[in-house]
């Protein structure tokens, strides 16, 4: 009968000893080690993202002159359109400010947008986050809202010197106040883990029973300013189905999110402005 090879179990023993040693470490040391690991890991992630940027740069270099001219023209057309829309937005903003002045309403909290590049993603069933290339030095703090062109991205969870980790709206631990477009009553949005090769999805709860949603008449869920983290009206997703809960008073339903959430490249962190502080500062 062959004897049990003691060497075969050694890795498990070592692992057990290491885990035990980690558990026995004082919490302060554990915290320090975790932060140090993140701080050391951040440059590596940043370097990796820069390498990816470089790769993209070289792939763009292969474009023909004709394609570049076409793209440049398209870009200038978009620029002109956005300038026009920015002008209209500014006019509306001033109109809104005048009305607020007339009605003696307080000015809502403003946000400075800190645009940052996404350097890494972590999409698991337990935790869904992205790492961005801006951090404490740029005025970013835990709890700040993060948005992109398609709407809400998530909330800053951890901040390091030059990077920050953003919890995505799809993360099971994410929760925010929202409301449906055209209605002011707040509802509760919660994240849901995203399966592989499936579109991102969340869940809306505490929806009053008088709402009705169907694939033909979906409801647009947008951010609520009441919570103080996001400005009002940023798109969150669409709701095509609502189901009445056990209380009969509220409904719940899935929220279909922007698929662009899974391929984020650039996001903007919403840094709340103090009253009388600087205006929007573009990076």
């Amino acid at each position: 009968m062959a004897g049990r090879n003691p060497l075969r179990d050694r890795p498990f023993a070592v692992l057990a000893v290491l885990i035990l040693a980690w558990l026995l470490l004082p919490p302060a040391v554990q915290r320090f080690a975790g932060t140090a690991f993140s701080e050391f890991q951040a440059p590596a992630e940043e370097a990796l993202s820069r390498v990816r940027d470089l790769g993209r740069y070289w792939s763009l270099r292969t474009l023909s002159r004709r394609e570049l001219i076409e793209t440049g023209r398209e870009l200038s057309r978009l620029n002109a359109l956005y300038r026009l829309q920015a002008g209209e937005t500014e006019a509306l903003r001033q109109y809104n400010a005048r009305l607020r002045g007339l009605l003696d309403l307080p000015e809502p909290v403003g946000f400075r947008r800190e645009v940052a590049r996404v350097t890494g993603r972590e999409l698991t069933n337990w935790w869904q986050s992205v790492t961005i290339r801006k951090g404490r030095e740029d005025g970013i703090r835990p709890g700040h809202g993060v948005v992109f062109a398609g709407g809400v991205v998530g909330r800053v969870r951890e901040v390091f010197a030059g990077t920050a980790r953003v919890e995505l709206v799809t993360s099971p631990g994410f929760r925010m106040a929202a409301h449906f477009e055209g209605d002011r009553r707040p509802v509760r949005y919660e994240g849901r883990p995203v399966g592989l090769l499936t579109d991102p999805e969340g869940q809306v709860r505490d929806v009053p029973s008088d709402f009705f949603a169907s694939p033909e008449e979906p409801l647009e869920l947008v951010s609520s300013r009441l919570g103080g983290v996001f400005p009002d009206g940023l798109p969150l997703g669409t709701v095509e189905r609502l189901q009445t809960g056990p209380s009969g008073l509220f409904q719940t339903g899935p929220v279909l999110l922007d698929p662009g959430l899974l391929t984020l490249e650039e996001v903007a962190v919403l840094v709340p402005e103090t009253r009388g502080g600087p205006g929007d500062a573009e990076p």
């Binding site: 631990g173 994410f174 009053p208 009441l226 103080g228 056990p246 008073l249």
Partner: protein, 670 residues
């Protein structure tokens, strides 16, 4: 070869002897073995008995010790008016609570910290601390709760507090239920907590429901209100010996909310939890979802009700409108009133005191007892006609007063009315005419007619606390209750609705409906009725009066509106029949005037009957049925007839299952 060594001193006989000793000893041990065996058998037998025979009993005891039940209240059903307008529904309320079992690690940590602090203090001072371990436990628990309250205060900017007594009470009586830290969060506070509290925080942002009355004070006395109280344990639950905790549910305390409690309440749900030895929840082993309460469709018409209440504003009194054909109550208003939304989710003490001070809890339409004054004259006329003591066309001399015994009873108009018949007497509300006809008919006949019209008994409308102290006096009553004889003056007073007579506005509306339809036994109902099958015909009887005589009374009431005392109740295209009344009461020794108006419309095909009463509040102010009460009735009539074309946009109300059930019950009676 080994040799066997033997003891030279011991022979075979000795060996046998030692064997004997052994066997003797063995024999001596036998009883011991037997006893041990018996004891073991008993032990194993008992063990087997406990394990197999008594197993169900132990399982039950284990269940009692480790299982706890939570009763979950069902959402309350909603109340609609006859056209499906929402009168009472549910609205969301938000609160922040903690489950105590999730705080146990924090309690433990805080307790250790407190113990260390005490020990350090003892070491520093050299004296033992006068703090018991129990005090430290509660201090630690309170400190943890305070930390969470501070967190909430920082987020919502509201000052929050909780007493140790509240925490102790929750631990001892409601440990499985969440401990509310802050209730009635505003939408902004709710959104702030959702946004800024971590999802894994022990503080839970919870939703609940509170009663919501979209029309505020509209029909407050009819709809009634609810109070929060621990949900009652349903009778049909299995395992009724389980320790049970009840969440706060709502229970109707007044009005329709109370009367239809069984229908509106719904079926409670339950959760059964396995708990640990400290009583904290461990795992949920059973769940039954609560079933929402049934909806109730009332006969009230929100438009007519609103018109009645607006017209009553500034008065103390009541207004009632009925469908005379079905008995459905279209409006039932009482003033002063209160805003139902102020009573939900809880009745604040200052609000209760304010309502109490105004005397607004009283539903004057069904609890207010008043002398009906001249609105009673049609009843006197009916009694005289029944007794053949007067003919409709017969004229009587009506001067400025009428002598009854040695007392002179005055006419309300100083020149008097001269020779007048019934129609004119009703139109101008002549007192002298009705003194004469009343005396001719006699008190017994008047009282009997009043009883036939339902004035001596409660109407039976589906409202709690309808008074049964109404009084239709007659000689027997006076003899029994006051020990006095009945005087002709009492009959004269009764003839014009004064004296001891006391009725409610709803009863007078029923009298008006009886005059409109020529039927008695009309039972007012607050439930919407549909189809002839639901009419409470079983109790209806024709008026004990010829049709000609009834028409004569109606002609008088028509004339009262067309050219008499009730001209302010005229409508452009609809003929109204009515009778005004003015009566005097002396509450607390102060003279107060009551202004009455009863009637129905249209005269030819009556669809609404009404009664209005208002009480004067100041001395020296002219107060009369035609001036104060008739315009209120006109407002109700205008609102009622304005809806002839239906209510645009109002949803079609489904047939109330509650009416189906009541109807089935009544069908059996028929």
């Amino acid at each position: 070869m080994a040799r066997k060594r033997t003891n030279p001193t011991s022979g075979p006989g000795e060996a046998n002897a030692s064997l004997d000793v052994a066997s003797r000893r063995h024999r001596r041990l036998l009883p011991l073995y037997a006893i041990t065996g018996i004891l073991l058998a008993v032990l194993f037998g008992q063990l087997g008995r406990e394990q197999f025979v008594n197993r169900p009993e132990y399982l039950e005891r284990e269940k009692q010790q480790t299982l706890r039940r939570i009763i979950l209240p069902a959402p309350r059903g909603t109340i609609y008016d006859r056209d499906g307008r929402l009168l009472a529904g549910n609205r969301a309320t938000f609160s922040a609570s903690v489950f105590l079992d999730e705080l146990r690690p924090a309690f433990r940590e805080e307790y250790i910290r407190q113990v260390r602090a005490v020990r350090e203090r003892e070491r520093a001072t050299g004296e033992p601390a006068e703090t018991s371990n129990r005090d430290l436990v509660w201090r630690a628990r309170m400190a943890v709760i305070r930390r969470h309250l501070d967190t909430l205060e920082g987020l919502i900017g509201r000052e929050l507090d909780m007493s140790l007594a509240t925490l102790r009470g929750h631990f001892h009586q409601r440990i499985l239920l969440p401990l509310p830290l802050v209730e009635n969060l505003t939408e902004e506070e709710y959104a702030t907590l959702i946004d800024q509290l971590p999802k894994d925080s022990p503080i839970v942002v919870a939703t609940d429901s509170a009663r919501y009355y979209p029309y505020g004070p509209l029909a407050a006395h009819t709809l009634g209100y609810v109070v929060n109280q621990p949900e009652e344990v349903p009778e049909d639950l299995s395992g009724d010996d389980l320790l049970t905790f009840s969440r706060y549910g709502k229970r109707g305390k007044a009005g329709v909310e109370r009367e239809f409690e069984a229908d509106l309440h719904g079926d409670s749900g339950e959760e059964v939890w396995r708990v640990d030895p400290q009583g904290f929840q461990f795992e949920r082993v059973d769940f039954r979802q609560p079933v929402v309460g049934g909806d109730v469709y009332l006969s009230l018409d929100a438009e007519v009700q609103q018109a009645a209440e607006r017209a009553l504003d500034g008065y103390v009194g009541a207004a009632v409108a009925l469908d005379p054909q079905t008995g459905e109550v279209l409006a039932l208003a009482s003033r002063p009133t209160y805003d139902l939304n102020e009573l939900t989710p809880r009745i604040p003490s200052p609000v209760f005191a304010r309502i109490n001070e105004k005397g607004a809890w009283l539903n004057r339409a069904v609890q207010g007892l008043y002398p009906p004054g001249s609105t009673f004259k049609p009843v006197t006329a009916m009694a005289a006609l029944r007794e053949d003591q007067v003919e409709p066309e017969e004229t009587l001399w009506c001067g400025t007063s009428y002598l009854v015994g040695n007392r002179r009873f005055p006419e309300h108009s100083s020149p008097g009315f001269g020779d007048i018949a019934l129609e004119r007497a009703l139109a101008v509300s002549s007192n002298v005419y009705f003194y004469q006809t009343g005396l001719a008919a006699g008190a017994e006949a008047i009282a009997d007619t009043a009883r036939v019209l339902g004035l001596a008994t409660p109407t039976g409308v589906e409202l709690p606390f309808e008074t049964d102290d109404m009084l239709v006096p007659d000689p027997a009553w006076k003899r029994e209750n006051r020990g006095e004889g009945w005087w002709p003056g009492d009959t004269a007073n009764l003839s014009i609705g004064q004296g001891f007579l006391r009725v409610t506005p709803l009863q007078m509306a029923v009298v008006a409906a009886s005059l409109a339809t020529g039927e008695t036994g009309i039972r007012p109902t607050l439930l919407r009725r549909e189809g002839e099958g639901w009419l409470d015909r079983a109790t209806r009887l024709p008026l004990p009066l010829s049709e000609e005589d009834r028409e004569a009374i109606v002609a008088g009431m028509r004339a009262a509106v067309a050219e008499g005392t009730a001209r302010r109740a005229q409508l452009p295209d609809i003929e109204v029949a009515g009778k005004t009344g003015t009566a005097q009461v002396y509450p607390g020794g102060k003279a107060r005037t009551l202004a009455w108006f009863i009637g129905f419309a249209p005269v030819q095909n009556p669809r609404i009957a009404f009664a209005v009463v208002t009480e004067s509040q100041e001395d020296g102010v002219e107060f009369a049925g035609g001036a104060q009460a008739a315009p209120i009735a006109r407002a109700m009539l205008e609102a009622f007839f304005a809806q002839e074309e239906g209510v645009p946009g109002a949803p079609e109300a489904p047939f109330s299952p509650l009416v189906h059930r009541l109807g089935a019950r009544e069908a059996v009676v028929q």
